[in-house]
Amino acid sequence: MSTSADRSAGLAALYQERILDHYRHPRHKGVLERATGVHGEKNPLCGDDITVSVLQRDGVVIDARYTGIGCSIMQAAASMLMELVRGRTREEIDLLSRRFDEMLASGEPEEALGELGALAGVAGFPARHKCAKLPWRALLGAIEHRNNG
C-alpha cells in the first residue's frame, strides 16, 4: 500500500461496518459452564486479553465462548471465530486456522472463513496481525486443553 489513497482504502476495509458491528455487539461472549477446555492468551504490549472456553463432544466443537478486552480487530475476530467453529471437527478447525493465516499473508478474502473473511484487510497492517490471531491461539489452546485432559 504505497499511495495515500491506497492506505485510506486499506483503512476503510480494516474498519468496515461488519467488523465494528462485531466489536460493538459481540456474539458468543461469555463463559461455558460445562466447558471441556479453557485457555487464555494475552498480548502484553497492548493489553489484549482473551479467554476461550469450548465444549467438545465426539471430536466436534458443540459451543465456544470468549471473554476478554482488547482492540476492535481482536474482539471482532473473536466474535466471528466463535460463530465459525460451532459444529466443526478439530481437523476442520485446524484447516480453517491455516486458511486464516494464508489470508493474512495474501490479503485475499477466503470464502471458507465466512464472516472472518472480512478481516482480509488486516493483511495490509502487519502490526495488527497479532490482534487478529490472538483469538485463534486461545481457541486452539482450549481445544488442546481438552485433548490433553
Binding site: L14, Y15, L45, G47
Partner: protein
C-alpha cells in the same frame, strides 16, 4: 513555530508528510550527530586506552572529550563520575545490582513511585525480593503528581534508597527532584533519579540537584542508540564494587585477586562505545546551540497548544497534570471507546506517528484503570503543524469509527 529546522534532521527532511510524535520513545537525529560518528571512524578510530600509538591516543581523547562535554551539559563538574552505559535501563540496573546488593539488606526499605517506567521499577522490586527488603510504591495525587505527603510517610528510618523519575514517560509529569532528594537525605537514604525523560527536555544541573545518581539515555536526546550513562556522587561510586569485570576496569590482576582501575573505568568493562559517546557529544552541542531554556519554552508552548486543541475533541480524555507548565512535552490520552491500537493504526495512515500501549508503565496503567493510552510526545523539531495533523487525523478516526454506531 519552527524551532529546530526540520532540514537539520535528514529523516524528517526526506519525509515531509511524516508527523513524528513519538520522541519520548526515541528522538530523530540531526545531521551533525551522524556526521560526528562518521568523522570519528574516518579520522580517529582505534581501541581507546589500549595502544601507545598516536591513533589510540586520538580515540581515547575523543572518548573522554565526549565525556567531559556531556558531563558539563548535565551540570556535573567531575566528569569522571559520568559512567557510560547503554542507556537508562542499564544505568538503573547498574545501581540496583552494584550499589543495591551491597547496601540494601533484609529489613531495609526501597521506595519507588507509581509513575516509574519498568526500567526504574523492576530492578528495585527484584533487588528487594532478592535481599528480603521491603518494596514500597508511593502513589499519585489525582492530577498525576507524586503524592509528596505520602512519600514523607513512606521514607522511614530503614529506607535505603528512593528511586524516582525526573519526568514521567507516560504522563509527562515533572517531579520536584530537589524535594524528593531532600526527603530521602533527611533520613540518610540515597536518591536515584531516572532522567531518561528529563535530560532531553530540561536543564539538569546535576551538582545543584544534590541527587546521588542521575541516569539518562542518549537516543532520547538526539544522540544515537546504545549510549547513555549515569552520573553519581564520587563517594558513592568509590564505595561501590564494580558489577562487570573485564578489560579497562582492572588495575592489577593477580592469580588470586584483582584491584580496580580509577573512575570512570572501574564501571566500564570492555571496549567502550566510542562512536556513541562522540555522537551524543555532538547531540548535546546541538542542544546547547538551541539553548535548553529555549527548548523548554518551545515545548511548553507546543504542549499548551496541543492540550488546548485536544480538549476541543469531544470524548477525548487527557491523563496527567492539567497545565503545560507542570508536564514535559508528553500528552497521553484516550478517545471514546476506541482502543489505542485502533487509534494509532488510523493515525499512522495519515503519517502521524504516536505510541499506543502501556508505555512500559503497567503499574501506572493499573492505577489509571486503563489497559493502554495513546501518547503524543514533542521535541525540538515539532511544530504546530504536527499538532494540527494529529488533531485532524483524530477527527477523521472518530468519524470513521463511529460512522455506523
Amino acid at each position: 513555530m519552527s524551532f529546530a529546522p526540520r532540514s537539520d534532521f535528514p529523516l524528517l527532511a526526506a519525509q515531509p508528510s511524516l508527523f513524528y510524535l513519538d520522541s519520548a520513545a526515541t528522538s530523530q537525529k540531526p545531521r551533525v550527530v551522524l556526521d560526528a560518528i562518521r568523522n570519528y571512524y574516518e579520522t580517529a578510530n582505534a581501541n581507546p586506552h589500549r595502544g601507545a600509538y598516536r591513533l589510540s591516543g586520538a580515540a581515547t581523547e575523543e572518548y573522554h572529550g565526549a565525556r567531559r562535554e556531556i558531563a558539563r551539559f548535565l551540570g556535573a563538574a567531575d566528569a569522571d563520575t559520568l559512567i557510560f552505559t547503554r542507556g537508562t535501563t542499564e544505568s538503573m540496573n547498574l545501581l540496583a545490582t552494584a550499589w543495591g546488593k551491597q547496601h540494601v539488606h533484609r529489613g531495609d526499605r526501597v521506595v519507588v513511585t507509581r509513575l516509574e517506567h519498568h526500567a526504574n521499577f523492576v530492578p528495585w522490586q527484584q533487588l528487594a525480593r532478592d535481599v528480603g527488603a521491603e518494596f514500597r510504591i508511593c502513589e499519585l495525587t489525582p492530577d498525576g503528581h507524586v503524592d509528596m505527603d505520602q512519600l514523607r510517610l513512606l521514607v522511614t528510618a530503614n529506607t535505603k534508597v528512593v528511586a524516582f523519575g525526573h519526568v514521567s514517560n507516560a504522563l509527562g509529569t515533572i517531579n520536584d527532584v530537589r524535594e524528593i532528594v531532600h526527603i530521602a537525605h533527611a533520613i540518610g537514604a540515597v536518591a536515584f533519579c531516572d532522567g531518561a525523560q528529563g535530560a532531553p527536555h530540561l536543564r539538569v544541573g546535576f551538582d545543584a540537584l544534590d541527587v546521588d545518581a542521575y541516569a539518562f539515555s542518549g537516543h532520547k536526546m538526539l544522540g544515537p542508540m546504545g549510549i547513555g550513562g549515569v552520573i553519581a556522587k564520587r563517594a558513592l561510586l568509590e564505595a561501590t564494587h564494580p558489577y562487570q569485570f573485564g578489560g579497562d576496569m582492572i588495575e592489577f590482576v593477580f592469580d588470586g585477586d584483582t584491584t580496580w582501575n580509577a573512575l570512570p573505568h572501574k564501571f566500564e568493562a570492555g571496549t567502550p562505545n566510542v562512536e556513541g559517546a562522540v555522537g551524543l557529544a555532538a547531540a548535546v552541542r546541538y542542544l546547547d546551540g538551541l539553548g535548553m531554556d529555549a527548548v523548554r519554552a518551545h515545548e511548553v508552548a507546543l504542549t499548551g497548544y496541543a492540550l488546548e486543541q485536544l480538549a476541543a475533541i469531544d470524548g477525548l480524555q487527557v491523563y496527567g497534570p492539567a497545565g503545560a507548565e507542570s508536564r514535559s512535552g508528553v500528552v497521553s490520552f484516550t478517545l471514546g471507546d476506541i482502543h489505542p491500537h485502533d487509534l494509532s493504526t488510523m493515525l499512522d495512515v495519515d503519517g502521524v506517528c504516536v505510541r499506543a500501549g502501556h508505555h512500559c508503565a503497567q503499574p501506572l496503567m493499573r492505577a489509571l484503570h486503563v489497559a493502554a493510552t495513546v501518547r503524543a510526545s514533542f521535541y525540538v523539531y515539532n511544530t504546530t503543524t504536527d499538532v494540527d495533523a494529529l488533531v485532524a487525523s483524530l477527527q477523521k478516526a472518530k468519524a470513521r469509527f463511529y460512522a455506523h454506531a
